[in-house]
Amino acid sequence: MLEPIIFELSAPGRRAGGHAPAKPPAADFPAQFLRREEPLLPEVSELQVVRHFTRLSQQNYSIDTQFYPLGSCTMKYNPRVCNRLAMLPEFVERHPLAATEYGQGFLECMYELQDMLKAVTGMTAISLTPMAGAQAEFAGVTMLRAYHDARGDSERREIIVPDAAHGTNPATASMCGCTVVEIPTRADGDVDLDALRNAVGPATAGIMLTNPSTLGIFERQIIEIADIVHKAGGLLYYDGANLNAILGRALPADMGFDVVHLNLHKTFATPHGGGGPGSGVVAVNERLAPFLPVPIVGRDGDQYVWLSAADRPRSIGRLSTFMGNAGILLRAFVYMRLLGADGMRRVSEFATLNANYLMKRLQTAGFEVSFAERRASHEFIVSLKLITNETGISAMDFAKALLDRGFHAPTTYFPQLVAECLLIEPTETEARQELDAFVAALVEIRDLAYSSPDTIKAAPITTPVRRLDDVRAVRQLDVVWQPDSESSA
């Protein structure tokens, strides 16, 4: 059933009622400031709102309803209690500018979270303020610049990234005013050290790496890489979006990284929310510590306090209006306290077990796995190139056919290095049964690709809509509902 757009449910003059003061005085502003026409907002009843958004929600696939092996996104179970406790009334009602005396409970959680996140990275200082991975990357690269600049080494404006890097890495480098130098990956999936040696030089600000990489494998030469970059005067940036794979097994600090960001919405199970919010804390070693963005939670005797620019004069400054995504940080805090030290090691243990099991099962079932001779970390790549060549059924087709079978699709066409790829990340919270069912579905789809490709090309057929015309979406841009746009669609 097609769910109408909320404006189509509107009736002029309808009031949901009960949510706004009944009789405020009229506007007493000079006329030049006044709005001339009422804005077009929905005019619907509370029941219509509840029904509309409940029904819309049912049109989503989500972790809570489907296996969601979206590679590089760590779609693990978001414990409900984390949300419940982060939404305790005292937390949600606390104004961000309330004096710290009226926020010791909240600040204590943040202080301990800082400590725990330092412990899982091995870094010595941290700021919780970045509001997503990409913003943390911005903070990290800006700190690299600030560090070099502070040493008078201000020609260093090149950021090296492997060709398999996530799109945010090069985009961040540009945002920071740096140039991107891409280096290739070797056939075995590790960084090409010779290329790296050629790339580094007096302009090198640093290198951005994820480890395990977006290819789903652990970079074994990480110590050599650190050595090469450091010797060249550059620093190492760790994109921690994939920390789930090594949580409690290895510390980015020990690998030689100078700055690390973590996606709490991945490793620490905060909600993905249909696109966010997340949180991208950034942690550093001693040499970068002065540059961390503010605010930071400090301790003064038995009081928790905010450290701001005044306390940290070399800080790269504030990156958010207040302190970042506090509520997401609370959720991560609750999650970490629930799991504790052992629970966190179990995360990487079972994320890795699930990935390797699934990889092996698919391999045995005849799928081509990239880097098959390597261990999978918490995710791995299947290349469907051969199947595509033989049947015309692409990775996209597989993705859509999976939707019909009750699974969210893996990440497709990323990393861009591998043709017709699926990047599959099962996460530790999925049961073996689920993985087995997923294998069965992929096998079935492949069989149909050969025996009856049209049925796969036609997928999905069970979703609220079938394949959408993306080209039209760009050419006939319809991004704002108009009273008459109904007919245009």
């Binding site: 696939y61 809570d64 997503a132 990409a134 993905h272 249909g274 209006t321 979703t463 809509v465």
Partner: protein
Amino acid sequence: MPFIPHTERDIAAMLSTIGVADTEALFDEIPAALRIDGLHKIPAGMDEAAVTRLMRDRAAKDAGVVSFIGAGAYEHHIPAAVWDLVTRGEFYSAYTPYQAEASQGTLQVIYEYQSIMANLTGLDISNASLYDGATAFAEACLMAVRSNRKVNSRKILVSCSVHPVYRAVARHLTVGQGIELVEINCRDGQTELAALDGLAAEEFAAVCLQQPTFLGTLDDVDTLTDWAHAQQMIVIAICNPMSLAVLRPPGEWGAAGADIACGEGQPFGIPVASGGPYFGYLVCRQQMVRQMPGRIVGRTVDIDGKPGFTLTLQAREQHIRRSKATSNICTNQGLMVTAATIYLSLLGSDGLRRTALQCHANTKLLVEKLSESDAATVMFEPFFHEAVLQFDRPVGPLIEALGQQGILAGYDLSADYPELGNALLVCATEMRTEEEIAKYATVLKAVMSSSKVA
């Protein structure tokens, strides 16, 4: 094992399928020197009941105050339905709608959100959210520089009446790209029109105006917009979106309207919650859309001709364009936008308007009550729902003394606007009752007459 579904039997079977003896073996590509045997500084796990106790104890420490602080975060009534719906697993635990067919819920919500924001601001195209008000402002600055084909400048004018943190954040986020923010002075809580003359000599890509200003006052945005347009600048409007229920939308400022509107979406159904997660909104004119950062959802049709929604104009984004993207943003604040869309649907324009007007009335009442004491006078009028009070003594100690009586008195302006003297920014949204306002006045009087703050 909390959240781990594996049984001993599963583990054994899986290891045997993989062909390793134990799970340790799965980490054998990590150089031995790097492997650690545990997280010794992390406390042991707790069961849910114990964590619940812990968090409730901590939350209780932060209770018992009534806030008259605004300064960028506003306590409004949030209908119970909002978060009941927002936290439905299907919204809460989905991610970016890459698979459109399996994400029509999220996509349609964003489309509806975009439509509402365009209507509210009087502009053409909204994105699907940025992190918060400050970063939305920074992105607007970057976007303006990229978009302005007429003026080839990396300088941007920013009124001093723009939120001081927004200015700071924008500076930090744009400096790497060589962008410079130049401030326009304020006088009487407004952007000083006289200051403009001195600026006409230089070229600026854009001018940034906040309405209502950070000080709660109303700027002459019509004149400012027309002036800026005459200089070929792009006009960036920063607005508390709640105010747009009553105040003239940016799209109608001056003769041609502002070009970009941005700001903090928090007033729309999102709790103040120590500062986040909120969301930044960003709306612009049609012709700038390809410079827009962040996700945008479009309506299209499926192969059966049925209407549906999908992410569109993705070629602007980092996952496609990489180092040439309009921004590095990836994860945004989707769930918050869901809250805002539900909130706005529940209130409608009438409810929003009534809420905005009640905030205004409450702040007027507050100002009236507080200025009954000779020690405080209101500095600027008209104001929306925040006002500056000038005191006859430093406000820091006052804030502290009131805090001890359970009243968060307001935002001390002395660091950001030293020229205003002993100035306090106060706010009373529709949530503040007459009793609370009266109590503030009473306690203030008592505090003033005590020696401590004299």
